[in-house]
């Protein structure tokens, strides 16, 4: 299979970006009118996205120009670490959530990117690995965070049932299995549902971007399908690894349910 080679580009002026801020103002106005108290958050979101994307744009430009795989790997590693930190804040009821999340995101990123390169879908060059890696790790982070958030809530709500099951001589895995299963499902379900409805209810971002950039619609659809399938794989790996490792932190080595008042050393 010949790796994808897409060579479409358009020029976007700063004036066009500035004009789109009108929609941000509209969002702030709606929040003010309905007293949703989100004006400040909308402002912060607009400014942060501007600063972050501009900086990452320059970083990507540098990486593209340097054209070395090591800088790509460094950028992806930084994404994995920040993704794990961000997700661990959302999974605050899971003791020691950072380590399972770090392993989950690293494995999801490495295995899916490795596979798409090995299968000859993308060339192992910065131009492909950086944007695809960003999407893979970002989606994996969201899925893992949702899964661990659900895991933490359910483990807290089901302490009596888990301990009653342990009291029968069940292993922690057996006692937590129904909860781990539901947490895994909740991490994956959003992407599965959005993949089901793609093209019917919404057009996904990559396809829209390519169409705006003047690409052939067939190419845009094919690339979008590749990305959707890649994301399904990475999201599943991330949710599976995160829940499969994190549930163990609720139990002691003597296969007891850990006391919630007892702190587990958290590296972050």
């Amino acid at each position: 299979m010949t790796p994808l080679a897409l060579a479409t580009s358009i020029h976007v002026s700063p004036g066009q970006v500035a004009a789109s801020l009108a929609l941000v103002a509209l969002a702030a106005a709606i929040s003010y009118w309905w007293k949703a108290d989100l004006e400040r958050d909308i402002g912060i979101a607009a400014v942060r996205s501007l600063v972050q994307l501009t900086l990452v744009g320059y970083a990507i430009k540098l990486i593209f120009e340097a054209d070395t795989i090591w800088l790509v790997l460094l950028l992806l590693a930084v994404m994995v670490v920040f993704g794990a930190i961000t997700a661990s804040h959302r999974a605050d009821k899971v003791p020691g959530a950072f380590r399972p999340l770090l392993i989950a995101l690293a494995l999801a990123g490495a295995s899916t990117l490795g596979l798409v390169v090995a299968l000859g879908i993308f060339e192992p060059t910065p131009r492909y690995l950086v944007p695809v890696g960003g999407m893979v790790i970002g989606n994996a982070m969201t899925a893992a965070a949702v899964a661990l958030n659900r895991l933490g809530d359910e483990m807290a709500d089901s302490r009596a049932r888990i301990e009653a099951t342990l009291a029968l001589g069940a292993t922690p895995r057996e006692a937590a299995l129904p909860i781990v299963r539901r947490a895994l499902r909740s991490g994956m379900i959003t992407l599965v549902d959005s993949t089901k409805t793609t093209g019917l209810i919404f057009f996904p971002g990559t396809m829209v971007g390519m169409l705006l950039a003047g690409a052939n619609p067939t190419d845009a659809v094919r690339l979008q399908l590749i990305l959707l399938y890649t994301l399904l794989g990475s999201v599943s790996i991330a949710a599976l690894v995160a829940t499969g490792l994190a549930y163990r932190n609720f139990f002691t080595p003597a296969q007891q349910l850990r006391d919630p008042q007892e702190d587990l050393a958290e590296p972050v």
Binding site: E163, A167, L168, P178, Q261
Partner: protein
């Protein structure tokens, strides 16, 4: 002695829950009595290693508890918690789950009768049972593992008099039919008188009395 506790201490959240607890529990029926919050349930959870003490030693059949594999110990020393916590599904599926963990095939009808439930309860959805029925289903589930010791944490605290009498009758019948020891936590000394022949009295995390029923609850 079935269980021997020596200088057992346990703190939770900076609060001393058990303080230098030393007591012997013989085979037969023992009641651990005392007011609410005195540490009775915590003590019971130590006996099948659902928790471990911070200090001190607990021996079961002359061997330290730490020498037992926790899962095997819990199948031999089964605990029925204070509040029913059955798995979703039917009563029978719960019995089969518990028996399967011990590698056994459950005699569903016999287990239900031992726990004071009619065999027709086998197919009932556990969410449709009353609290008393759920408590008896929990008892049947624990019995499905054919334990040598049954730890019962306030088995009738949430029940009315009729349901309480049914559970107590089931427990008395169990002792007659099976070679099983009972360790029962209760805040009610009268229940201890009805069911036990040995008593450990706990007050504020300390042993306030330990010995035959007639001596401790005279």
């Amino acid at each position: 002695m079935l269980f021997e506790l020596r200088e057992v201490r346990l703190s939770r959240g900076g609060r001393c829950v058990l303080d230098s607890v030393s007591a012997g529990l013989p085979a037969g029926a023992t009641a651990i009595v005392g007011p609410s919050g005195s540490g009775k349930s915590t003590l019971l959870r130590l006996l099948n290693r659902l928790a471990d003490p911070d200090a001190g030693e607990i021996a079961y059949r002359e061997r330290p508890l730490g020498e037992y594999e926790p899962l095997a110990l819990r199948r031999e020393v089964a605990l029925v918690p204070q509040l029913p916590a059955l798995l979703d599904g039917s009563v029978e599926s719960n019995l089969r789950y518990a028996a399967g963990l011990a590698g056994r095939e459950p005699e569903v009808e016999r287990l239900l009768r031992l726990a004071g439930l009619d065999p027709e309860f086998a197919g009932r959805d556990v969410t449709k049972l009353s609290v008393g029925e759920q408590q008896r289903a929990m008892l049947a589930r624990a019995l499905a593992q054919e334990p040598r010791v049954l730890l019962l944490d306030e088995p009738t605290s949430a029940l009315d008099h009729a349901a309480r009498d049914a559970i107590e009758a089931a427990l008395a019948e169990l002792r007659r039919e099976l070679e099983i020891s009972l360790v029962l936590v209760s805040h009610d000394p009268e229940q201890a008188r009805r069911l036990a022949d040995w008593v450990v009295r706990i007050d504020a995390g300390c042993v306030a009395g330990c010995g035959p029923l007639a001596e401790v609850l005279a």
